[in-house]
Amino acid sequence: MKEVHLERIETFNKRLETLYNKICQWLDELQIEYTRQEKEMSLTEQKNMTYTTKELDIFTKEGESLFCIVPYGVWIIGAEGRVELEGDSGSESLVYLLGKEPSPLITEIESEKDKIIRKKLNGPRQEGWHWVDERIIGKRPLLTKDIFMALLEKIN
């Protein structure tokens, strides 16, 4: 595998570790009792690109699965990686986005209202894990504690 690909995989795994720690920190803040397990898994993407990464499983103190985060891939169109947040009733995708401003959806002549909506209300995009909310087009909200807890309800 090329050096550049190995670096990208390493970066992805570091970002995953940060995500897992952040989520556990949120659970701690909410005083949720849980057990944490990380399992190594193998992913294959594109031709001849197999690598090792980690899945996170969170269980209640009774041992019931609360959710798991399963890496989906590093090479994703429009993002720097994707994971699936999975529960009993479904899953939601999270993608890692860089801080670069997304290109606008509409490039017709901008009215003042367009500028306000796009530049003032949206603000610059923050680097980090974002939720792929399939119902709202043009948006990928940054994953916050509140969004994460709402997603837990959605997938369970």
Binding site: G78, S91, S93, S103, G138
Partner: protein
């Protein structure tokens, strides 16, 4: 340009995907009356997740395929529509023959080249993304061979739908401004 067809596919996807969630919930809550005379009637709970996960992945890939096919159709129709201008060529008989030939040949043009026709109005990022989606779509259309994975990143219905919308918006924005300049 009618992007309604593309939007319809995306919203049909959301309907089916959410139906899968409802099915999972009904199984987890053991509301067996809902499963009568369906494949879920005899299904064990342990088999449910892998089965629905597989269905979810399959659905997403088929939707990417459908969205791109609809986008391609709309784009070709737009060019076919514009090619009717050839009919105005004098002598009229030549114009008509050129129109027939052009309309037949446009169906054979490579979609990647059609996308690049719009490089004067659609930015390179959007065109590049669409070409990557095209390669991924080709992999799906040729049977999703696990031994011959695509040499491009993977994608999902939302990214595909948004990229198509962005292409149409940039394309139409420019076409509209050109139309306005005529008056």
């Amino acid at each position: 340009m009618n992007i309604g067809f593309v939007t319809e596919i995306y919203y049909n996807y959301l309907t089916v995907k959410n139906s899968l969630t409802v099915t999972r919930r009904s199984m987890n809550k053991k509301i067996s009356i809902l499963h009568r005379r369906t494949i879920f009637e005899e299904l064990k709970l342990n088999d449910l997740n892998p089965m629905l996960k597989s269905a979810d992945n399959e659905l997403a890939d088929l939707i990417v395929l459908g969205l791109f096919a609809s986008f391609e159709r709309q784009l070709r129709d737009e060019i076919l529509d514009k090619s009717s201008k050839l009919q105005e060529i004098i002598p009229r008989e030549l114009g008509e023959r050129l129109t027939i030939l052009a309309q037949r040949e446009i169906e054979r043009w490579r979609i990647g080249e059609i996308i690049d026709l719009f490089n004067f109005t659609v930015d390179g990022d959007v065109r590049g993304k669409l070409k990557q989606i095209l390669k991924y779509r080709n992999w799906i259309a040729h049977g999703r061979n696990p031994n011959d994975l695509p040499s491009v990143p993977s994608t999902d219905p939302k990214t595909t739908y948004e990229t198509i919308l962005e292409f149409f918006s940039q394309m139409q924005g420019d076409l509209v401004s050109h139309e306005n300049k005529r008056f």
